[in-house]
């Protein structure tokens, strides 16, 4: 099957790459662009480990075809890290011990950023509702929610 050429912007930089038509954005990010911070947990949109921002909208990259991001902006966990230091969410996740194995962490941070962009001072209930599409098996979510609330404060 022949490859398609996709021109998009990834983490603020132009990114031109080849992809197979059936290939997901998740695989293009990880295997072609070598941005492995976005993780694959379930391949069908049920765990949120593959969360990215597509034109600023929080999506599961396992449910987006790579070809669909032609002309679009993609932001991954790598793009949330500033040039120096850490994003407040990253800092709060560390200080609140909001990660144990860390595999869900990039997805949670991307999703939490989307939350705080829209709702800078969410309640605990709003945090839990917004993040319900991100599964964590290690933490029971307690410290994750606290970290997000701390970043919002």
């Amino acid at each position: 099957m022949s490859h398609l050429v996709v021109n998009s912007t990834v983490n603020g930089e132009p990114a031109e790459f080849l992809c197979e038509p059936h290939e997901t954005l998740l695989h293009a990010l990880r295997d072609t662009l070598l941005l492995t911070g976005t993780k694959e947990g379930c391949s069908n949109g049920n765990c949120g480990a593959c969360s990215v921002l597509l034109d600023g909208v929080l999506v599961n990259s396992c449910l987006v075809l790579a070809a669909e991001v032609e002309g679009r902006q993609v932001t991954t966990i790598e793009g949330l890290t500033p040039r120096e230091g850490l994003h407040p969410l990253q800092q709060q996740f560390l200080e609140n011990a909001a990660l144990q194995c860390g595999i869900c962490t990039p997805g949670f941070i991307v999703a939490s950023k989307a939350l705080l962009d829209r709702n800078p001072h969410p309640t605990e209930a709003e945090v839990r509702h917004f993040l319900a599409g991100n599964l964590c098996r290690c933490t029971g979510y307690d410290k994750i929610v606290r970290a997000v609330l701390a970043a919002a404060a």
Partner: protein, 760 residues
């Protein structure tokens, strides 16, 4: 034993050393590995729960352009019956080998039959679909009743029952029947004034780690194998590959990547030997295989479904006089369920004079079970704690009261043999009694939403095991600490903290690294709640040795005897106004005798057991059967909490898994043994919206055997939740839930049956 009141590092909450990598997405997990020239593997799995494999034709797969190798079970060396210890229980290597690639028979839906490696994942997947397998489908055995029936067809011709220590004659699906006895149960029940006898069932449940298994393996021309994998135990992987492929250990290097959750499910190999064979057949190209989520649920070890019968006898004053347990656990396609561990857990919190426990390890056409956080414990405690709740109510006693009355203490002998050293069970009960959750009234509502409160306790053995580590003092005073315990939840930092405390330097001066099997001495797996305990102890010893050596060096620099030199607050001093800062001593190591490198290895003893008592408030919608968790408090004797945030995190995580197990998680099979819910949509684990904040109460009863009083903490939190929730549901509705999960459909049916019974 160190002074526990003056710790500088222990008890603080530093940011973990690997934290920045993990929050920025830089940390490399199994699937993130990339080796030059790597090709991609795909597995072909059985569409039948039970079938003889008559033939496998791989020719069409091999002919597909891009395919570099194909392997089947025939490519694995024949294995003798051999048992290995991988750190969370013994493993029969022949069974493990057959599990990795089926031999003559497919034994569960999803059983690996063959594997392909190709230049792209797409081609590998397509090629796997081109492999033609001829099956003779056999009737599947899908539950304990069917498996244990006297006329049941035996799944393995060579598995006989180990019947109370004697080998049986005929093949059987009951791989083992053991018994623990204490005292005289007949007399005990005869003396009882109240007897409760109940039967419980639990479903098959998976560890549910978010990261699927992944391995990248390269077979070099010189016969050296390089293995990258996400694993809880790199040395266990090495020895399993060695045994399964018949390779010397010296030929195998296992490099553990970061791991995205394990909970016991990543102790044994699934992919690594297959990738190795594919690599060899492909001329040594590195082969990367990552499981799909379906593969993970269908073909890696869940934990056992079970049937557990509990009978208690007690006198009216609340003292238990006797207990009898019958417990059968599904091992899946090969023997080795955690029924043994379950039998140790089930009555452990209680001092009961007369006990008999019969345990059964039973085969069926489901995936081979694997350890899942306190393996066997949750099932057991669900039954024991539910029945105890009934007994307490029959005696008009409160849940804490009856547990205090019968509490195990130092010196109590468990039914499975061991005598307890200093334990903290009573302390957890007392912590509960003091806690506002316990003392606050539960608002009862009218209407369809009913609230209830439940309490349950639990126990886990914890494990010590062997760890090794090394440390090098750098000229700038930092210490490079290499250890081999893969870090699932922040342990490299807890280990670094113990080292820092022992040596007497700040923890950010320690640089812990988890290294490969060639770079550090042997380490048992990260599991069994052993890592902070055992690897921590090893680095404590290293810290002490380095401290001694640095004092000797400082003495040289101070021109005095080592006995005259003390090291406090970063300064070496001879007590007579002469002192040298730590950084100067380390900068001048070359002048005082050269580098300082210390290794240490220990087979630890004296691991502390763990007890927990949990309280939960639930709300049951009696019109729909839905249960919501309103409030959860978990008290646990945690020994000395090295990093309190990580101890809290272990408790909260175990509780969350226990809640999922209690309320919604189960494998659902059709009548042919096909797993219907092999995905996160219908294998329902708790989301952020399904849990409240979880109050983790750390009761510190230090383990007297460990230099820093450490007890394992990671596993016991998963043991009480199901029992606590079942008891809370009863408190809310008056209905006992006798089967896990207590999902809405089951609850609704039970509520309706009870309403009908009440109306009659």
């Amino acid at each position: 034993m160190s002074d526990q009141t003056a710790f500088k590092v222990i008890g603080t909450r530093p940011v973990r050393h690997d934290g920045v990598d993990k929050v920025t997405g830089r940390a490399l997990y199994g699937a993130d590995v990339r080796m030059n020239g790597q090709i991609y593997g795909a597995m072909l799995r059985s569409p039948h729960a039970h079938a003889r494999i008559l033939s496998i034709d791989t020719s069409f797969a091999e002919a597909l352009p891009g395919v570099k190798s194909v392997v089947t079970g025939a490519d694995l060396p024949a294995m003798a019956d051999k048992i290995a210890d991988t750190g969370e229980g013994a493993v029969n290597l022949r069974h493990l080998s057959s599990n990795i690639l089926a031999g003559s028979t497919a034994l569960y839906w999803g059983h690996a039959i063959a594997a392909v490696a190709a230049t792209t994942q797409t081609i590998a997947d397509q090629a796997a679909a081109l492999i033609r397998v001829e099956y003779e489908v056999l009737p599947p055995i899908l539950d304990l009743a069917a498996a244990m029936a006297p006329d049941a067809a035996a799944l393995h011709a060579d598995v006989v029952t180990n019947e109370l220590g004697e080998k049986g004659k005929a093949p059987s699906n009951v791989a083992e029947h053991f018994r623990h006895e204490k005292g005289d149960v007949a007399a005990g029940f005869a003396a009882a004034e109240v007897v409760i006898e109940r039967e419980y069932k639990t479903g098959t449940v998976h560890q549910g780690y978010i990261e699927p298994h992944s391995a990248t393996v390269q077979w070099n021309a010189d016969g050296q194998l390089i293995v990258y994998c996400s694993t809880q135990g790199s040395f266990g992987v090495r020895s399993e590959i060695s045994e399964i492929l018949g390779l010397p250990i010296s030929h195998i290097k296992v490099i553990p990547t970061e791991i995205g959750g394990g909970f016991g499910g990543k102790l044994n190999v699934y992919l690594e030997p297959v990738a190795a064979l594919l690599s060899r057949k492909a001329g040594g190209r590195a082969v990367k295989i990552t499981m799909s989520r379906i593969d993970v649920l269908a073909a890696t070890g869940p934990t056992s479904a079970s049937i557990i019968k509990v009978k208690y006898g007690a006198t009216r004053d609340g003292r238990l006089t006797a207990a009898q347990v019958w417990m059968a656990y599904e091992a899946g396609a090969f023997p080795g369920s955690p029924v043994g561990a379950g039998s140790g857990v089930i009555l452990a919190p209680y001092d009961i004079p007369n006990v008999v426990i019969d345990g059964y390890d039973v085969l069926c056409n489901k995936p081979k079970s694997n350890a899942y956080r306190a393996p066997g414990g949750t099932n057991a405690a669900y039954a024991a704690e539910s029945a105890l709740d009934e007994l307490a109510r029959a005696l008009n006693m409160g849940p804490i009261e009856i547990r205090l009355k019968n509490a195990a203490k130092e010196g109590t002998r468990r039914a499975d043999g061991p005598v307890f050293p200093r334990i903290g069970f009573v302390e957890t009960l007392e912590a509960v009694m003091r806690h506002p959750h316990y003392t606050s009234a539960l608002e009862r509502s009218s209407g369809p939403l009913r609230r209830g409160r439940g309490i349950a306790s639990g126990f886990w053995f914890n494990f010590g095991g062997t760890s090794s580590a090394s440390a090098t003092v750098n000229p700038d005073g930092t210490v490079s600490l290499t250890e081999g315990s893969t870090d699932i939840g922040g342990s490299r930092t807890s280990i670094a903290m113990q080292f820092a405390e022992s040596l007497g330097i700040p923890v950010d001066q320690v640089k812990p690294q988890v290294v490969d099997t060639d770079s550090v001495g042997y380490n048992d797996a990260t599991g069994g709640s052993r890592t902070t305990f055992a690897t921590g102890w090893v680095v404590y010893e290293i810290g002490q040795k380095i401290r001694t050596e640095l004092i000797a060096r400082a003495a040289k620099m101070l021109e005095t005897e080592p006995g005259q030199v003390s090291f406090e607050n970063g300064v070496f001093s001879n007590g007579a106004m002469k002192n040298i800062p730590y950084a100067q001593v380390t900068a001048d190591l070359d002048k005082t005798g050269g580098p300082i490198v210390v290794s240490h290895s220990m087979r630890t003893r004296g691991e502390g057991t763990a007890f927990a008592t949990h309280i939960v408030d639930v709300e049951v919608d009696i019109e729909t059967g839905k249960v919501d968790i309103l409030r959860y408090t978990a008290t646990q004797d945690v020994g000395h909490a090295i990093h309190p945030s990580y101890v809290e995190g272990q408790i909260q995580g175990g509780v969350a898994q226990g809640i999922g197990w209690a309320l919604n998680e189960e494998y659902i099979y059709d009548k042919n043994g096909k797993l219907l819910n092999a995905g996160f949509l219908d294998y329902r684990m708790p989301t952020t919206l399904d849990l409240p904040m979880i109050d983790a109460v750390l009761v510190e009863v230090p383990n007297p055997k460990h230099p820093y009083g450490v007890r394992g903490v990671g596993e016991v939190p998963i043991v009480p939740p199901a029992g606590a929730i079942a008891n809370a549901i009863f408190d809310a509705t008056g209905v006992r839930m006798m089967e896990l999960p207590m999902s809405p459909a089951r609850n609704l049916a039970a509520l309706e049956a009870a309403a009908i019974a009440a109306a009659v």
